[in-house]
Amino acid sequence: IKDLTDEWMMSVYGPVVKIHPVVLASIGDSYERRNEGASRVIGTLLGTIDKHSVEVTNCFSVPHNESEDEVAVDMEFAKNMYDLHKRVSPSEVIVGWYATGFEITEHSVLIHEYYSREATNPIHLTMDTALQSGKMNIRAYVSAQMGVPGKTVGVMFTPLSVKYKYYDTERIGVDLLQRTRDAPNTTNGLTSDLCQVGGAAGRVQDMLATVLTYIEDVLSGKQMADNSVGRYLMDLVNKVPKITAEDFETMLNSNINDLLMVTYLSNLTQAQIALNEKIVVL
């Protein structure tokens, strides 16, 4: 059985694979915790299947042994873990499997066969955690039969397009995690309320600065003006609502009054319960 990979071909065959960041973080973590002597880790991917896409939302690693001529996967373990996971999220099904490493080896074909028994048309995800090519290539493949039917039949792994999908809260979580990149010892504390608003305002300011430099470049002729960008800019400027000064004043004041009143009320309540406590203890 031979296998081929077509890395340079953008594929339109097969479903789009949407991955959640939690899956990638999990794979990275299990790679870091691999046993001595193991060069790669494998595991099962869980998720949901749609008509045109496969959404991968969870994964767990499966212990396996790999040597030159044979590969052994702990299938009992895989089944067990899947059952446990199913209890928590009954809507997740096995959609495929993952392996770290750069290439697809012959052993992968065997493992893929095993997974085709568990799921229809499983997805194979590879992530190059050893960074052999300088980047962490995250690719997805699906297997297709090829060859002459009846004689030599082989399996080809065709690449699929990979997209990243986030829930809103996940996006916010990932943004926070991004900040650990720049910290010296990769740690980051959680900031308190007003600092967060300041931080967000800072980010918007940076973005505005980028846009401004672009505009100045266009005006001074350094860059070609792009009409679509110009339209976006028009939208941006028009987004600031045009309200008369008095209306805005009244709106602003009433909002500020609401907030101040609520602050006053909550301070009052806190004083009240503190008093109550002191009186009871008397």
Binding site: P63, T129, F248, L260, V280
Partner: protein
């Protein structure tokens, strides 16, 4: 309602979670969470926790010097009606055994729970946290607030019971005298532990890759100006709690009044008795036998003070949250004013 969880009592032997540096007396000063745990918690709530159900899970990790490192977690299934024979302990044991096979830290260090607008100070939480902390000294409960997170910034807090509260829970003495002795106020129930997020270098590389593959976040939820919805709900919850509190106070007042009335009655009875006895003695008759006064007048049951403490703590929490929210919004409003002022 939140379910009770028990720590598996058998594996306390392999769970020697104190490293040689940390003694049992020195509490953990900081919590270090891996990014993976954060993502898993967010995902768990997003998929399974719609509505006001709380989702819970177990935290795994270890203690290093004065830090509690949380390296992994796994979710707990919801308690549904048809799960009468569902064995929580067995699920935990199986999960931990399986995770041990793939070299994931399998030491229990705490648990996490999602919350609805900050309402998590309840009897169930107290009991669960107490049983965890009793078994494992350094365990914490992570409270994840998904609604606040959706508004723009991750809201994750770690709490632990203060030693004073642990003492009280151990003795199960929840009466007013017990609490007075320990001088516990609602502010001293939980102590918050600062959290730091840590990512390994490999995960950092992953973050760089993700950054370049994805578009810039097109939603800046944090700068959203609309606040009335959130304020309304918070205030509604606050009002409910204050109602509970006032009911509790009324109960306590009736109890005090009953007690004092009973004392008065006792005194009157004893006085009458003595008078009668004195009269009988003057008349030369045998005095009436002394009756056990305390048996006749049974003192009323004092109401438990623990609930009051919990309600007060919850109210305090709500107030804190509301104040944080309003301060953020005031900042945003002033920014909007600056923007508008520039225009006109």
């Amino acid at each position: 309602m939140a379910t009770r969880k028990e720590t598996p009592s058998t594996p306390t032997a392999p769970m020697a979670s104190t490293s040689p540096g940390a003694t049992l007396d020195s509490p953990v000063k900081q919590i270090q969470i891996e990014g993976l745990v954060v993502l898993k918690m967010i995902k768990h709530y997003q998929e399974e926790g719609q509505g006001s159900e709380v989702v819970q899970g177990v935290l795994l990790g270890l203690v290093v010097e004065d830090r509690l490192e949380i390296t992994n977690c796994f979710p707990f299934p919801q308690h549904t009606e048809d799960d009468a024979d569902f064995d929580e302990v067995q699920y935990q044991m199986e999960m931990m055994r399986s995770l041990r096979h793939v070299n994931i830290d399998h030491l229990h260090v705490g648990w996490y729970q999602s919350t609805y607008y900050g309402s998590f100070v309840s009897r169930a939480l107290l009991d669960s946290q107490f049983s965890y902390q009793h078994a494992i000294e350094e365990s914490v409960v992570l409270i994840y607030d998904p609604i606040k997170t959706a508004q723009g910034s991750l809201s994750l807090k770690a709490y632990r019971l203060t030693p004073k509260l642990m003492e009280i829970c151990k003795e199960k003495d929840f009466s007013a005298e017990g609490l007075k002795k320990a001088l516990i106020g609602f502010e001293h129930m939980f102590e918050e532990v600062p959290i730091v997020i840590e990512n390994s270098h490999l995960i950092n590389v992953l973050m760089w890759e993700l950054e370049e593959k994805c578009t810039v976040a097109d939603k800046h939820e944090l700068l959203n100006l609309s606040s009335s919805n959130h304020l309304e709900k918070s205030l509604q919850l606050l009002m409910d709690r204050v109602d509970d509190m006032s009911q509790d106070i009324v109960k306590y007042n009736t109890y005090s009044r009953n007690l004092s009335k009973q004392q008065q009655q006792k005194h009157q009875y004893i006085q009458r008795r003595q008078q009668e006895n004195a009269q009988r003695q003057t008349r030369g008759e045998t005095p009436l036998p002394e009756e056990d006064v305390s048996k006749m007048f049974k003192p009323p049951q004092p109401p438990p003070r623990m609930d009051t403490l919990l309600i007060a703590g919850q109210i305090n929490n709500y107030c804190q949250n509301v104040k944080e929210f309003t301060s953020q919004n005031l900042g945003k409003l002033f920014m909007a004013e600056a923007l508008q002022g520039h225009n006109s």
